[in-house]
Amino acid sequence: MDFMKHHPKLTSFGALLIAFFLLVALVPQNEANYLWRFPSLIAWLPGWINDFAEFLMFDFMPVEIYDPDLEDYETSALLREITRGFSGAVLVLIEFIRELLIGGRKTIVFFTSWDFVSENPWAVWPALPWTVVTAGAVILGFALKGRGLALLAGVALTYISVFGQWEPAMQTLSFVLVAAPLSILLGLCLGVLAFKSRAVESALMPLLNVAQTMPHFSYLVPVTVFFGVGDHAGAIATVIFATPPMIRLTLLGMKKVPLEVVEAGMMSGCTNRQTLFRVIVPTARRDILIGVNQVIMQCLAMAVIASFIGAKGLGYNLLLALNGLRIGLALELGICIVLIAVVLDKLSLAWANKQTDYFADLSFGQRHVYLLVFLAVFVACVVLAVIGKLILGEGINYLYIIPHSKGITTEWFWQAGVDRMVENWYAGLQGFNRGLIVNVLQPMKKAYLAMPVSATFLLVMGVGYIVGGIRSALTVGSFLLFIALTEWWDRALITAYMASFGVIVSVSLGLILGSLCAQSQRASNIALLVCDTFQTFPSFIYLIPVIMLFGVTDTSVLMAVVIYATIPATRYTIEGIRNVPQHLLDAGMMSGVTKLQRWTKIELPLAFPHIMLGVNQTVIFALFMVIIGAMIGTEDLGQYILKALSDKQGIGNGLMLGLCVAFIGLTVDHLITRWAKDRSSQLGLN
């Protein structure tokens, strides 16, 4: 009785669990029983969405459009013309940058016509020699930051060229150079709008929540329906995916600007516009720059996924290599993507932090020294390329462009490694693999599937009620209801099981690793650096090593999930523990706690709210990875999303499945953030 009085929350959790298990035991597994499974009442919704999309694209607001090919007016839907125009613009931009880098004719065609090009064989835009682009990057790096960045840029681009990935890399780069600025601009504008108007903010927030928890794949189908297939579609999907974090961080940063700084701007005589763009936005730059970094990372993470809908480049090749199980090649391509990501990120950061010298009295040459050096290098490299052409003749001109897959490769080395591992460790790995599947995964999956829908609702809504009252219960309940009324409840359970397995392992690993590292400042810094580095890798990269070890199985996916999702768990644990106020630790020491006591009695409880935010991230990361894992064959929601991709009518299914995944994520997100917020204010943190 005393215990119940002192721990009302624990008691209600206990009661909730008992009721949950009672329901599990008592509800008969019978399809006709609504307590066991809800009927799929909204199974019609995907079809309706398809019809609606079709209506929008073909019948909605018909307008007369002049078709120059037919030399006549034809009727077309307004939206179709808008999206067509937008696609065209994006495509022209991408192709312009692409042809600047690796040559081609499409830009010339755009300004003249196909006839012009076919009649004039000279009308081909030549590629820039790779040496020019590399030198340009080195000079840019040096001009913006100094020797370190120059070296990084040089090494990265040389690597890409030498390994024969120049063309796909430049294709990816051209795509990123369009998608990233678009996302940044759009994110900034929407962020500023949301900051200015509460209405916009409250309309935007739920959209952002869903957008950030929807798996990447589910954007692809609607994008193909509205924008078709190709590089531009990939870029648009990327923009949709990369903009939400930018909006959120812009808004967050602007809200954090101290009132006095705003007032100082006003007292300096700023107009409203000047206050916004010269005071508030620049002062929020720390967060905005994190947003820029996120955008660049998302763009490269999407490089692979966008290749599903026709984006060319490294991502497409990586996908092919993965499908062909060419681990070495996939690894080399993965490194290319990471290198581009890191170089772009560092360059953009350096550019934003650039300082101007106002009093230096410089001559024209001094002011434009980098430009002049670049021009000189440009000429030199072009001359070299021409000389190379003369000497090497028809052979590969290494001074111009190393053609795709004609560079050096280390694939044989990795393949030999994989072969060797398979040879030596096959029995062991297979044993582990089988053991895991039979003893852990299968029973866990069975248990999840044996859960009556009523019990799931009781558990989740009950937790919602205990954590955040009736409002929270209703919120998470409505998320679940949506999933339960589709025809994919069982699939969602499988997704949930895989994700929760990943989360449990990741969080345990992250807690232990994080706690160990947090014991010393140095170890923490190193661990955080490692986390940063790992986070720059697009999620796809994680599949490479695990396939190497475990082949194409559920275990591979789960291993990838664990690796990927352990990053946030570790990071937040370290941050949480390092942020425990020093005076509390000192007080603990003076009370004579042992190291273990310090960890369990002081560090963990105080760091717990922050760690829970890490768990929240872990859940989202795990869900994403599970869905991506569908690429190598799992039987959860992800697989259906993939199927929807190849289906012309897949827009409804794709969106609904995406929402299902998003709602699983949002349910967990809601419960955890709500709890963490209450708990931190109870502890007087923040």
């Binding site: 300096s268 005589g269 700023c270 107009t271 005071v279 620049p282 002062t283």
Partner: protein, 355 residues
């Protein structure tokens, strides 16, 4: 340097007439119902907070008015009303004869660009700009070309003794240095009116003293019209021509430092003055007696501007009255050693004191 309002026939630079600032949704309605008699308690019960309660005063050209009060007394709110960073609920504020509250945003921006400068407690520097860029900022938003703005900013850097740190970012500076940048920025457009909102409160005591000296030096050169907000009574005594002491939004007393120390108007003000060592803050001329028809003086003379502490010992050594001289060596009054004893050792008010 104290100026009496009667000394100047000119228009006041800042003129506030029954200024009210009340926070809350139905502040306007409440105020109209209250009919000019605002009681903090009733307003609080109705969900309103009284920030400034019927403040009326004038500030003249070249004068420094210090608004002193504890936190929550409404001193910063009053300053924000006069700089129009917050909208005033009721009352009149005139700047150089112009109605501040009637200005549209364009006029207000013009006013701030040309006539006002403000220094903030937490410095409020733009973190992405260097010292030089921060100082040049008000000039740039005004539309002055970058080279000109930078040249002027460089002069300001020299004025506040930050030479050599032009390219530093705020985060690389100490608190005192940051506030020097804040001061330089507020002065860059050569404003007539200078607002300082607890400019030295975030600084260490030693740095604060140093910054106060620096501030007095600047004011000696620039002679601006100043509204200075502080919670530090000693600071107010040190800097002010006149002090307005605020409590719960009401100005309890507005007078010269000497009169406040010698004749606190309310018990609340007395609490501040009790702890003040008079001999350290008062000048001889604030306590001297009129010259009258007396003729029997000691040979010793003292300057009216001398702080009492510095001359008390020699006055106490004299049996006869000591003559007090003004700047031009005219005899303006006299002081007797008995009065010195009273000032040094008694805490009663000194009724006949005058300036």
């Amino acid at each position: 340097m104290a100026l009496q309002s009667t000394d100047l026939k000119s228009e006041p630079v800042i003129k506030c007439t029954s200024v009210y600032k009340i926070f809350g949704d139905n502040a306007d309605k409440m105020l109209r119902a209250a009919n000019g008699k605002v009681d903090a308690k009733t307003f609080q019960d109705a969900g309103c907070v009284v920030g400034v309660n019927s403040a009326s005063f004038e500030v003249y050209k070249g004068e420094m008015l210090v608004i002193m009060g504890l936190s929550g007394s409404g001193k910063s709110t009053l300053l924000r009303c006069i700089s129009r960073l917050t909208e005033t609920t009721a009352g009149d504020i005139h700047i150089d004869g112009e109605d501040l509250l009637a200005m549209n945003s364009k006029q207000l921006i013009e006013l701030r660009r040309n006539k006002m400068g403000m220094v903030f407690q937490s410095f409020a520097l733009l973190p992405h700009k260097t010292v030089l860029e921060n100082i040049a900022f008000p000039l740039q938003v005004k539309g002055i070309s970058t080279p000109d703005a930078m040249k002027r900013a460089k002069e300001m850097v020299d004025l506040v003794s930050l030479t050599g740190r032009e390219t530093y970012y705020p985060r690389q500076l100490s608190g005192g240095q940051q506030q020097r940048v804040g001061i330089a920025r507020s002065l860059a457009v050569e404003p007539d009116i200078w607002f300082l909102d607890e400019p030295f409160s975030a600084l260490d005591p030693l740095i604060r003293k140093e910054m106060q000296d620096e501030f007095l030096r600047l004011q000696g050169v620039l002679n601006k019209t100043i509204l200075f907000v502080t919670h530090d009574f000693a600071e107010a005594l040190r800097l002010a021509d006149r002090i307005a002491i605020m409590k719960d939004g009401v100005i309890e007393q507005l007078d010269t430092p000497a009169n406040i120390v010698l004749n606190p108007a309310t018990d609340y003000v007395r609490k501040f003055t009790e702890e003040v060592p008079r001999e350290k803050v008062l000048k001889i001329k604030s306590v001297m007696d009129p010259i009258g028809d007396q003729t029997d003086f000691s040979d010793l003379t003292v300057s009216g501007d001398a702080i009492i502490e510095t001359v008390a010992e020699s006055i106490l050594g004299e049996q006869k009255r000591v003559r007090v001289l003004d700047k031009n060596d005219n005899v303006v009054g006299s002081v007797h050693c008995a009065k010195m004893l009273h000032i040094l050792f008694s805490h009663d008010d000194v009724p006949e004191a005058r300036e």
